[in-house]
Amino acid sequence: MEFALASGIGVLTACGIYLLLRARSFDVILGLTLLSYATNLLIFAAGRPVIGKPPVLREGVAETLANYTDPLPQALVLTAIVIAFAMTAVAIVVAMRSRADNRSDHVDGREPDAGGKQ
C-alpha cells in the first residue's frame, strides 16, 4: 500500500509540474491544483496512514497509536487544503485581471509572437 500511495503522489506531482511549466495562466493554476493534491497526500502519508482507524476516540478503546492513526498530519493537511484554496482563488483572480488588462492569458502578459525580447 505504501508504494501505491507514494506512486500516486508521484503521478500527481509529475502531472502538476508538467502543467506548472506551461505558458498559460490557467494551465499553471491547474498544475498548482494538482500539486496541492500531491502535497496534501504527502503530508497525510507522513502519518503512516492505516485503514479503518480514524482518530476519533471511542469509549473503551485505549488512546494509543495502535488504535488510531496519527491525527497530526490530518490537521496539517486540513490547514494546507484551506490555504491552498485561498491561494488558488487569488491566483485565479489575478490571472483573470492579467488577461483583461494585458489582453493575453500568457503568464508573461503578452503573446509570444506579439512582443519581442525586452
Partner: protein, 508 residues
C-alpha cells in the same frame, strides 16, 4: 507582560479585523491603523528589551507543552526582527496615508494582516506554524501589491503569486517529509531528533531539509531563485515595496533560524551542511544582483536589485557561520531594510516629479523639487552603496572583518567589487535623475511637490540610519549576543522543550 510574545501578532490581527467592520471610511481606518502601529512599536520595543536579558522567552500557546502545541520563542534575533519590522512599518504607513490608502481597497486591513504575518513568522518556534505565517504574509502581500493596480502590475503579480505558491508547495513537501522522518514540528524538538537520527535516515532528512532550503532561498531571492523579485518589487506601490524590503529578510531569517537550531552545530552528521551551498550561491547572487542594479532601466528596478544584493550579502554573512559574521549580518540586515525601503519611497517621489519619464534612467527629464529629492537620494545612495559613515559601511566592514581566514580572498573580492558596482550604479542614477534634470519647459507647471507625509516618511527611514550609525556600538553588542545565542542552539532548545505550562502537566 506575560503575554508580550503573542502581542506582536495579536495587535495587528485585531486591528486588521476591526478594519473590516468600519467599512470604507478612511478616517476610522487610519485611526485604527495608527493606534495599532503605536501599540506595535511599544510592544516590539519592550520585547527587544526583554529578549536582551539573554533568556529565551517561550510562550506556550494554549498552555500546551512546546512539542504538543505551538510555542512562540523569542530570542534576541526574533525580537530584533519584530522591532525592525515595526520601525519599518511606521514610515511605510505614513507614506501610504498620503493618499494611496484611499485608492487601494482594503489597504489598511491588508497592511495590518501583513504585519501580523511577518511577526508570526519571526516569533514562531514551530515549523508548520512558520508555513502558516508565511502564507499569511504572502497573501496579504498579494493584496497590498495588487489592490488598486492594473496592467503590468497584474502581470508581475501573476508571476509573484504563481512563484510563491510553487514555493509554498515545496515547503509543504519538505514539512511532510520532515514530520514523517522526525515525528515532530517543533523546531527545538526536531533539533534533538535530528541530532539523534538513525544513520539510515540522515540522507533522507538532508534531502527534506534541502527542499526546505530551496523554499527559504526562493523567498529570500537567492540564486537561482531570485528572478521574480525585481519585477515584483518594481511594480509594487511605493509604500508596499518599502514594506516588502523586509520580506526577503523573512526568508533569510528562516534560513538562519532553522539551519542554526535544527540543522545547526548540534545536528550531528547534518551540522551546518546548508552553509556549504549557501556561500557560493550568496556570492553568485551578489554578483548578479549588482550587475542587475547596473543594468536597471528604472530606479525602482535598481532598488529591487539592491534588495536582492542585500539579501545575498546576508547569506554570505550567515553562511560563514561565525559569531562575528552572523552578528555583522544581523546588523546589516537591519540597515539594509531601512535603506532600501527609503530608496523605494524616494524613487516614487522622484517618479512623480518627472512627468512621463517616471523613474526611467535612460531619459533626461525635468525633475521637480530637485534639491530636496536630490539630497534624499544622495543620502540613501551613500547608504546603500555602503559608503561611510552610514551603517551600510559599518555593516560591511564588520562583515569583512569577520570573514574567517580561509575565505577572505573570495568573500572580500566579491563584497568589495560589488560594493563598487553598487556605487557606480547609484552614481549613475543620481547623475541621470538629478543632475541631468533639465528645467521645466516654459509654461509647464512643475508637478505638485511631494506631500509632507511622504517626505517625512523617507526622512524617518534615513533618520533611522543616522541613529543606527550613532548607536552602532550597542546595536552591535546586541547582535553579537544574538549571534552567540543562535550559534549555540542547545540551551535554547533545552529552554524551549523544558518550559512548563502554567496549569497543564508538562510533556514527559
Amino acid at each position: 507582560m506575560a503575554h508580550l510574545p503573542v502581542l506582536p501578532v495579536l495587535v495587528p490581527l485585531v486591528a486588521g479585523a476591526l478594519m473590516l467592520l468600519v467599512g470604507r471610511r478612511i478616517g476610522p481606518q487610519r485611526a485604527i491603523a495608527w493606534t495599532a502601529m503605536a501599540a506595535l512599536l511599544a510592544t516590539a520595543a519592550l520585547l527587544a528589551r526583554e529578549a536582551d536579558r539573554g533568556e529565551i522567552l517561550v510562550y506556550l500557546l494554549g498552555d500546551w507543552p512546546a512539542r504538543l502545541g505551538i510555542a512562540l520563542t523569542v530570542d534576541r534575533t526574533s525580537a530584533l526582527m519584530v522591532l525592525t519590522t515595526a520601525l519599518l512599518a511606521a514610515p511605510c504607513l505614513l507614506y501610504a496615508c498620503s493618499g494611496w490608502d484611499r485608492r487601494a481597497p482594503h489597504f489598511h486591513a491588508l497592511f495590518q494582516l501583513q504585519l501580523a504575518g511577518l511577526n508570526g513568522a519571526f516569533l514562531t518556534g514551530d515549523l508548520f506554524n512558520l508555513f502558516v505565517f508565511f502564507e499569511v504574509l504572502l497573501i496579504a502581500s498579494y493584496g497590498l501589491m495588487l489592490s488598486g493596480g492594473r496592467g503590468p502590475r497584474m502581470r508581475a503579480g501573476l508571476h509573484y503569486v504563481a512563484f510563491n505558491i510553487t514555493a509554498s508547495t515545496l515547503f509543504l513537501v519538505a514539512l511532510g517529509l520532515l514530520y514523517g522522518l522526525t515525528g515532530t514540528l517543533n523546531m527545538a524538538e526536531m533539533s534533538l531528533r535530528v541530532a539523534a537520527a538513525d544513520p539510515d535516515d540522515v540522507a533522507l532528512i538532508q534531502a527534506a531539509s534541502g527542499i526546505l532550503l530551496v523554499v527559504f532561498c526562493a523567498k529570500a531571492a537567492l540564486l537561482p531563485l531570485y528572478l521574480w523579485l525585481p519585477e515584483t518589487y518594481s511594480h509594487a506601490p511605493a509604500a508596499v515595496a518599502a514594506l516588502f524590503t523586509v520580506m526577503t529578510k523573512v526568508g533569510v531569517y528562516a534560513v538562519l533560524r532553522v539551519y542554526t537550531l535544527v540543522f545547526g552545530s548540534e545536528a550531528g552528521e547534518l551540522a551546518g551542511w546548508a552553509w556549504d551551498w549557501l556561500l557560493p550561491a550568496g556570492i553568485a547572487t551578489l554578483v548578479l544582483a549588482s550587475l542587475g542594479a547596473l543594468a536597471s532601466p528604472t530606479l525602482r528596478a535598481q532598488v529591487s536589485w539592491l534588495v536582492i544584493a542585500s539579501a545575498a550579502t546576508l547569506f554570505i554573512a550567515f553562511s560563514l557561520d561565525t559569531p562575528a559574521s552572523v552578528s555583522a549580518g544581523l546588523y546589516y540586515l537591519v540597515q539594509s531594510t531601512f535603506v532600501t525601503a527609503a530608496l523605494f519611497l524616494i524613487a516614487d517621489m522622484v517618479r512623480r516629479q518627472r512627468g512621463k519619464a517616471g523613474d526611467r534612467l535612460d531619459i533626461a527629464a525635468p525633475l521637480g523639487h530637485k534639491a530636496a529629492l536630490g539630497l534624499l537620494l544622495l543620502v540613501a545612495g551613500v547608504a546603500v552603496a555602503g559608503l561611510p559613515p552610514l551603517p551600510g559601511f559599518i555593516g560591511k566592514f564588520a562583515l569583512l572583518a569577520a570573514v574567517p581566514d580561509g575565505r577572505v580572498a573570495l568573500v572580500w573580492t566579491t563584497v568589495l567589487v560589488t560594493s563598487l558596482l553598487a556605487l557606480v550604479a547609484m552614481a549613475r542614477s543620481g547623475s541621470q535623475l538629478v543632475w541631468r534634470a533639465e528645467a521645466f519647459p516654459d509654461g509647464a507647471a512643475a508637478p505638485r511637490p511631494p506631500r509632507t507625509a511622504q517626505r517625512i516618511a523617507a526622512g524617518v527611514l534615513l533618520g533611522y540610519l543616522g541613529a543606527l550609525m550613532l548607536v552602532s556600538a550597542p546595536v552591535l553588542r546586541y547582535t553579537d549576543a544574538a549571534a552567540a545565542q543562535l550559534l549555540a542552539p542547545a540551551p535554547a532548545a533545552d529552554a524551549i522543550r523544558g518550559t512548563a505550562p502554567t496549569k497543564r502537566a508538562p510533556s514527559p
